[in-house]
Symmetry: C2
Subunit: 105 residues, 2 copies
Amino acid sequence: MTTARIDGVAVTTQANVYFDGKCVSHGITYPDGTKKSVGVVLPATLTFNTGAPEVMECVAGGCEYRLAGTDAWLKSGPGDKFSIPGNSSFDIRVNEAYHYICHFG
Amino acid sequence: MTTARIDGVAVTTQANVYFDGKCVSHGITYPDGTKKSVGVVLPATLTFNTGAPEVMECVAGGCEYRLAGTDAWLKSGPGDKFSIPGNSSFDIRVNEAYHYICHFG
């Protein structure tokens, strides 16, 4: 089951652009102050660093990811989630597009 | 005055990706059903076609645009808006990034 839309939130109109546009996201804020982002990673192999722990939830497309300190590339597709510890990193490779919700904390 | 955030809307989690990622947007829906999008155009010169009439509102960065049937490239920066008729087109050129809200109709 994928999350096609998120209701009742505030959207930050300015996008976050990473890696020359290979990743673009928009921040959202829930009424209780919880912040998440919705974004897309375009075809590329990238390394993301985390501050807070993150959960990446795939809403369309897919990717392969590799957590810091591991060797295995794992697949993530629509409805799948994976967790990244805080102050860590993960590699991601995308062939078409990976649409995601990023949950923090 | 720029529109930094939009409150109380639903966000479509899957991004719209145009021109190989040179333009990425997310759709938003107001409680009354009104649909808009928030997006970014990255450095490029592109031509967009309209179905419904559109108003493009710059929230950060900037662009130059040229409406169909005109010769002049006009600048649009934070807080500026420009209107495009339905079933028409416009050229846009961006040097850094053009963050926008697209209003339809």
